[in-house]
């Protein structure tokens, strides 16, 4: 018997009991849909992180105060190991440095008239614009002179601007940060939200203003160092580390009291996290696919029992054992393939729904779709084999007598 004939028989058997076929395939539908949607979420998160890290600027080394590790970033302000002298030394001594920007950021309350909001106050140097590739869309950034004079000027992010000045021109307005009045001189261009932070929910002020007037500190939290070419990155990173160790008088056995990360490092860390997440989510979804396969096996066993007489008739008119085996195997594979195809639709629509309603970024990959589908077919074969073998091993005489 040909595969085509087996397929027609399988379709007829499925059509004879459409509700049962649908419910049987449901496990696979959910399984495939879940795998596709979960992997899409994982990949989407990864893409978002990649874009975010790349948006930092190119050939960037970031120096954090203290030992920074993902998952246990210290709250408050315990680490005070970096200061402006370090910044100036790095600028002078590290080869290949084309720009450097220091930053001191903290959450604080900002008030405009009756509105008040907690947002991030970032004290930065004017070079920040070039180093981080992040500039005002309207108005202007503060100057070196304003930096030196600890001017009370602020450039607001898009989110803050939308919140405070939906109808009014932000330039020239007065806002209060920690009770001190600042003049808004610019609005930053939109960077967009990522899955982790809203990069537009921020107010920039001169670093010196933030240190002295707002928070009463003399250190900085972060130093961004721009290097001319990516080839010079490793050398620059090494020189920078040596310089800071010397300046901080660290003995050889002591650990660094700062952390240097390149974009590649950051990217790698986040990528491995999202990779783990993708595998985990996909794995959980795959379990539901296996449960779906068990559902198929269950119904196929019932079907073989119900159709024992049919099997007997087919054997009497000349069906070989492998014809019967093929017939039931094709039927279970048809169920899983049908379920798999519907599952792809569910997965794709589900991913889009997640993006739309939960706002998570998702990324559909052909690879994941093919993987889920192949797995579904494999499940159909694996769990269809035992029922099909049971059917093929029936004794024709017993099968013909079956009521």
């Amino acid at each position: 018997m040909t595969l085509g004939a087996s397929f027609r028989i399988a379709l007829r058997a499925m059509a004879a009991n459409p509700l049962r076929s649908l419910l049987t395939a449901l496990g696979v539908i959910i399984g495939v849909g879940a795998v596709i949607a979960m992997v899409a979420i994982g990949q989407g998160a990864r893409r978002a992180v990649t874009e975010q890290v790349q948006a930092l600027g190119s050939n960037l080394l970031t120096v954090f105060a203290g030992q920074v590790q993902l998952g246990r970033i210290a709250r408050g302000d315990p680490v005070q190991t970096l200061n402006m002298e370090d910044v100036e030394e790095i600028r002078k001594a590290v080869p290949g440095v084309t720009g450097i920007s220091a930053e001191y950021s903290r959450q604080a309350q900002v008030v405009f008239r009756a509105e008040n909001v907690i947002t991030q106050i970032s004290g930065v140097t004017p070079e920040f614009q070039e180093v981080r590739n992040f500039r005002p869309a309207r108005g202007e950034f503060f100057t070196e002179a304003e930096m030196r004079s600890r001017a009370k000027v602020a450039i607001v992010g898009k989110t803050v601007a939308d919140r405070f000045f939906p109808d009014t021109d932000p330039i020239g307005q007065r806002i209060r940060i920690r009770g001190i009045t600042f003049t808004v001189i610019g609005v930053m261009e939109e960077k967009g939200a990522t899955s982790f932070t809203d990069r537009d929910d921020v107010v920039f002020v001169p670093l010196t203003t933030a240190q002295r007037r707002l928070f009463g500190v003399t250190h900085v939290r972060t130093i961004h160092v721009q290097v001319a070419t990516s080839e010079e990155m490793p050398a620059a990173q090494e020189a920078l580390t040596e310089l800071l160790r010397t300046r901080h008088r660290l003995a050889p056995h002591q650990e660094n009291d700062f952390t240097v990360r390149s974009q590649a490092d950051i990217l790698q860390t986040f990528t491995s996290v999202s990779q783990t997440m993708t595998v985990l989510l996909g794995g959980i979804a795959a379990v539901s696919l296996i449960v779906g396969g068990i559902g198929i096996m269950n119904i196929m066993l019932v079907s073989v029992t119900e159709r024992t007489r049919e099997i007997g008739i087919r054997m009497a008119v000349g069906a070989r054992r492998r014809d019967i085996l093929l017939q039931f195997l094709v039927e279970s594979v048809a169920l899983s393939v049908g379920g798999g195809m519907i599952g792809i639709g569910v997965g794709v629509l589900g991913s889009q729904a997640i993006t739309r309603f939960a706002g998570w970024s998702t990324l559909l990959s052909l690879q994941a779709v093919l993987l889920a589908f192949t797995f579904a077919v494999a499940v159909g074969v694996f769990f269809g084999l035992y029922p099909a073998q049971r059917a093929a091993r029936l004794d024709p005489i017993v099968a013909l007598r079956h009521e």
Binding site: E310, I313, M315, A316, V317, G318, R320, R321, L400
Partner: protein, 237 residues
């Protein structure tokens, strides 16, 4: 050479450790074109004999040559091929596939034979039993007599050497039974060998040879001398 040559066949079933001798050494030869009726009370071994003749079962001992081939030595696959090419079955309960149109039921042996042009051959077989117009009907839409005609068309479609009919009229009223027997008569006239199991004397009377079973043995095997009816072509009702 005999079409069917059964020699010293025994069949022993083991049920819960007890041996049941269904056949206690039977020998039977059927020549091409014969119309044989097998009779006997239930439990006499006639069904077991039919299963063996139909290549659905193998004898415990003894030999069975079907058209010169010793089928007792064949494997499952070769037996399936035998059933498909050389034998046609007609059952008491018709045994049509449910939810499957008559024409596709008739096609079934051709599907397993891999024959091309299946639809046309199936239609010809249905026409020959007078059911051409009902080809698309489902078994549930056909009367008992019509279902049995479909079953006969299915038995015929692969041009078998032998038709094995196990109580083919057992579920039919006497006039419908008569029509089915007329059909088998006609096939016999055309040279097809027919082996029929029945316990009804008037059905057996249509055959030209009676084989009587009792307790797993053949107790009598004789030709029917005086034929009361000698139909020529289709019988008029």
């Amino acid at each position: 050479m005999s079409l069917i040559a059964v020699r010293n066949v025994e069949k022993i079933y083991r049920m819960d450790g007890v041996e049941v001798h269904a056949l206690r050494g039977i020998s039977l030869a059927v020549e091409p074109g014969e119309f044989v009726a097998i009779m006997g009370p239930s439990g006499s071994g006639k069904s077991t004999c039919m299963n063996i003749l139909g290549c659905l079962d193998r004898p415990t001992t003894g030999t069975y040559l079907l058209d010169g081939t010793d089928v007792t030595t064949l494997g499952d696959e070769a037996l399936a091929r035998m059933r498909n090419r050389r034998l046609g079955f007609v059952f008491q309960s018709y045994n049509l596939l449910p939810r499957t149109p008559a024409i596709e039921n008739v096609e079934l042996p051709l599907v397993y034979a891999g024959t091309p042009d299946r639809r046309a051959r199936a239609r010809a077989a249905l026409d020959s039993v007078g059911l051409g117009p009902r080809a698309r009907h489902l078994p549930t839409q056909l009367s008992g007599g019509e279902q049995q005609r479909v079953a006969i068309a299915r038995a015929l479609v692969n041009s078998p050497a032998i038709i094995l009919a196990d109580e083919p009229t057992g579920n039919l009223d006497s006039s419908t039974a008569g029509e089915i027997m007329d059909l088998l008569d006609r096939l016999s006239q055309q040279g097809i060998t027919i082996v029929l199991v029945t316990h009804e004397a008037d059905i057996a009377a249509r055959a030209r040879r009676h084989v009587q079973f009792r307790d797993g043995r053949i107790v009598s095997d004789e030709p029917v001398r005086a034929r009361t009816v000698a139909p020529q072509g289709p019988v008029q009702p």
